[in-house]
Symmetry: C2
Subunit: 338 residues, 2 copies
């Protein structure tokens, strides 16, 4: 049914090799022949069979992306940034949402490897590096984004989480908060980094976290708002209670704000809140949410470029790390001074 090079070659009385060369702009084809071939391609609406090409070249022009949750705007934006860059280069993106399940994530990575993606880009929720060892065995280049592993030498694109945490907390301090709590995320590098930043910023001002002021949200990747709500209720029982809260991510921060309002307190007057991630609708929330912007689109773009360079590299290259600088975005939820 579909048109093949063979058909074009037959029609024009040339060989398939010639057709193939025209298709890829090889120089050693005469101008006239090239025209004829191109014309016929147009007429027949020829599309090369990428599977066949992949078989012989060993390259699929496809990248794999694995994220914990596509619905989370952060990852959706990363995906968009990625595909924006890849599209221009003729690459496509095979996306899987691992739904926050480490086991599923492993399987998806296997699946993508079987499909011979040229490179993998993963925001992992796994605890172990086993999966990635397998990827290394197959010599498939891969890039971690957002979250990384200690003890795994790998390409990484993300933000400086410690700086993000510090930025947020310094801002709260400047706004006059003195009892700053932190609703932290799960045991992944991002959450750990932000906790460190939180502590560092406090220490810089001679402060330290009060007992019970760091509380963990249960499920940060999925329905973070709910765990944020629970966490904040816990914090509200403390005495003295916090006057500022830095949250691991924006959904959690939304839950936190809801808990505060439900308790009859005001944001930011009684308690200032800041999140992290700067999701698109942060401005439209109950209380417009201050946040730390991670420039997710840029993460996607940088990862895409890095992936392409890895694919093109003939020799294995030393893993690189790209750390983007987080930026503070102040909105009403933390604005106490003019």
């Amino acid at each position: 049914m579909a048109v093949r090079m063979k058909d074009i070659a037959r029609d024009l009385g040339v060989s398939v090799v010639t057709v193939s060369k025209v298709l890829r702009n090889h120089s050693d084809i005469g101008a006239e022949t090239r025209e004829r071939v191109l014309k016929r391609m147009k007429e027949l609406n020829y599309r090369p069979n990428l599977a066949a090409r992949a078989l012989v070249t060993g390259r699929t022009n496809t990248l794999g992306l694995v994220v914990p949750d596509l619905v989370h705007p952060f990852f959706a934006e990363v995906a968009k940034g990625l595909s924006h860059v890849l599209r221009k280069k003729g690459y496509s993106l095979l996306i899987s949402s691992a739904e926050g399940d480490a086991e599923l994530e492993k399987q998806e990575i296997e699946q993508l490897m079987a499909r011979r993606v040229d490179a993998l880009i993963v925001a992992s929720t796994q605890w172990t590096v086993e999966s990635f060892r397998r990827v290394e065995e197959q010599k498939i280049p891969y890039i971690l984004i957002d979250r990384r592993f200690v003890g795994l030498q790998a390409n990484f694109v993300g933000v400086d989480d410690e700086a993000a945490g510090a930025l947020a907390v310094e801002h709260l301090i400047e706004q006059g908060c003195r009892r700053i709590a932190h609703v932290r995320g799960p045991e992944v590098s991002t959450a750990i980094g932000r906790v460190e930043g939180y502590k560092r910023a406090l220490a810089n001002r001679g402060l330290s976290p009060l007992p019970g002021f760091i509380v963990a949200g249960k499920s940060a990747d999925d329905r973070g708002d709910l765990s944020g709500y629970d966490a904040m209720r816990q914090l509200l029982r403390l005495d003295p209670r916090p006057d500022g809260v830095f949250c691991y991510n924006d959904p959690m921060a939304m839950g936190v704000i809801k808990a505060i309002l439900d308790a009859g307190l005001r944001v930011p007057r009684d308690i200032a809140v800041i999140g992290c991630g700067n999701v698109v609708y942060a401005e439209l929330l109950r209380v417009p949410l201050s946040s730390i912007d991670q420039d997710s689109a840029a993460i996607g773009e940088r990862a895409a470029k890095m992936a392409l360079s890895l694919v093109d590299a003939k020799t294995p290259v030393r893993p690189r790390t790209v750390l983007l600088e987080p930026k503070l975005v102040v909105r009403e939820s933390s604005r106490r001074k003019t």
Copy 2:
């Protein structure tokens, strides 16, 4: 580098055909041979080369999904629902975000066809059906979701938009609104259907849209909040001004609410607002947003199942339409009575 069937066959002194059959659970292989092959596959960590398989079978076990904007929660949820079903069947999903650009969308569809996806699932922003004629020529099954075209006999999965619009407006009427405006979307079937529903519901109560009460948001797919804001400012200049607004989608509704509040009016007391789509964070907004739920995950799942059945069908089947029933979700933005 990678292990091939040939390697396993050589190691075991059998033919590649035997290995191939074991892999696919063909019945005509002796139990002992099968065991040996399986064992060796495990040892070598064999993964079939899907590109090679695709070449000979003509099936890629891959589906293509084209959406206007991956960051829009509706489409992200659809994608999630899709991949949830496909994963189990060993299918992968090639996703492209067309960024609301019809020309780009065409190209992406071409790209996916070149990759020989087994079926296409498209939420289109195009004006013409040209692209889909091409898809039909290639005999690639495709399914439209969310938006459809008049005069195009195609598989479709979506919600009953007219019902959605009617549901929203009836609710506003019940809440006591009498001057109900509509911020409509672009010239696609969803927006048109919702407008119809809006008119029908009014007509049922002997009402009709006041002059100027239907206003169009500029860019509904991308940053709908901004166009919602503009549209509402326009509505606020009318006299009498609306006491209820039904919005094409939730992002627009958020912009609308912002405009109302900025004008010093209250929601829902002065003006009640309802959106459409029921995005996950609707509850956490400035004013928790009433909305029409479209069950996006179900759309994804139904589309996935339909796609799989189309792929398996040996003969072309008559296009089917799956219409899901929209559901009303009442929150604060439209609650005027207890």
